[in-house]
């Protein structure tokens, strides 16, 4: 293999990680905006759910690079998956994470591409 290819091969994983990190930040920002609105009327929104959004470092799983955006606040899981209120039997579901993902897809792709290109240029010149 050529030296040029070897340089590309060495730079690629770091660039992918940079791209994933950038894309994850786009999604995290979008989902925080959704969560700030609260659920149902929004009257009880405290900002706690938005503040709970965390972004992992890029990691490898099954031979692929991944990044995880999530929350350790269980209430966000209840609302995203839907739940039955204790006592009243009322069902509620507000899918902020899903809608944020659907909406931010193109922006995430752009952020990934830009960060990937910048990292490759920085590495390869």
């Amino acid at each position: 293999m050529s030296a040029e290819f070897e340089r590309f091969k060495a730079a690629h994983p770091k660039a992918v990680q940079a791209g994933l990190g950038a894309a994850a930040q786009v999604y995290a920002k979008e989902v925080k905006e959704y969560l700030k609105r609260g659920y149902s009327t929004g009257d009880y929104a405290t900002g706690k759910a938005a503040e709970s959004v965390v972004v992992s470092e890029p990691f490898q799983e099954g031979g692929e690079w991944c990044v995880r955006v999530g929350s350790n606040d269980r209430v966000t899981l209840y609302w995203e998956m839907g739940f039955v209120h204790v006592g009243s039997g009322r069902f509620d579901r507000v899918e902020h994470w899903q809608f944020a993902l659907d909406e931010s897809g193109p922006a995430m792709q752009t952020a990934f591409a830009n960060a990937y290109d910048a990292a490759m240029q920085a590495e390869l010149g």
Binding site: M81, H85, V86, S88
Partner: protein
């Protein structure tokens, strides 16, 4: 039964889920009767409403290169049961739904098929959620060459 509209497609999927007979001779309809609702159950659920399911088609897309005649979406079926001890029975509903979906190809009007169907038990919730309710989530990738359908709701 057809793929002529979003409503028709939902009916097609619901019929498949409820009427599929697994190798042990069981159907979902035996357990949940017709309680497989679209998007949400009725208000003020009663004890007699359990177990039940909710079905939704999510993130509809027309993939690049399909000439805008193919639609893909994530199919989600969520099963709810109570009390806590019913978890095994609710998981069995998820297994049956997966079997019904992965063995399904429908070409009676348009073409519909399913891939990557999986079932997952959700953790037991705490207040304000009812901690007696058990949830199992089934997701699958739906592909469809519809007869006329150009969009999917939700």
């Amino acid at each position: 039964m057809s793929t002529v509209s979003t409503d028709a497609l939902y009916q097609l999927i619901v019929t498949r889920l409820l009427t599929y007979t697994d190798p042990d001779g069981h159907t979902l309809a035996q357990n949940i009767a017709g309680r497989l609702w679209r998007l949400a159950p009725p208000d003020n659920l009663k004890a007699t409403d359990y177990p039940f399911g909710i079905i939704a088609l999510k993130s509809p897309q027309m993939p690049d290169g399909s000439g805008q005649i193919k639609i893909t979406a994530t199919l989600e079926v969520m099963f709810f049961g109570r009390p806590v001890g019913s978890h095994t029975a609710i998981e069995a509903l998820g297994d049956r739904a997966v079997a019904a979906l992965i063995t399904w190809r429908d070409a009676t009007s348009g073409l519909v098929w399913i891939q990557d169907a999986v079932t997952q038990s959700l953790p037991t919730y705490a207040a304000p959620a009812d901690p007696d309710v058990q949830q199992v989530r089934v997701t699958a990738a739906l592909s469809c060459y519809p007869t006329l359908l150009t969009r999917l709701s939700s």
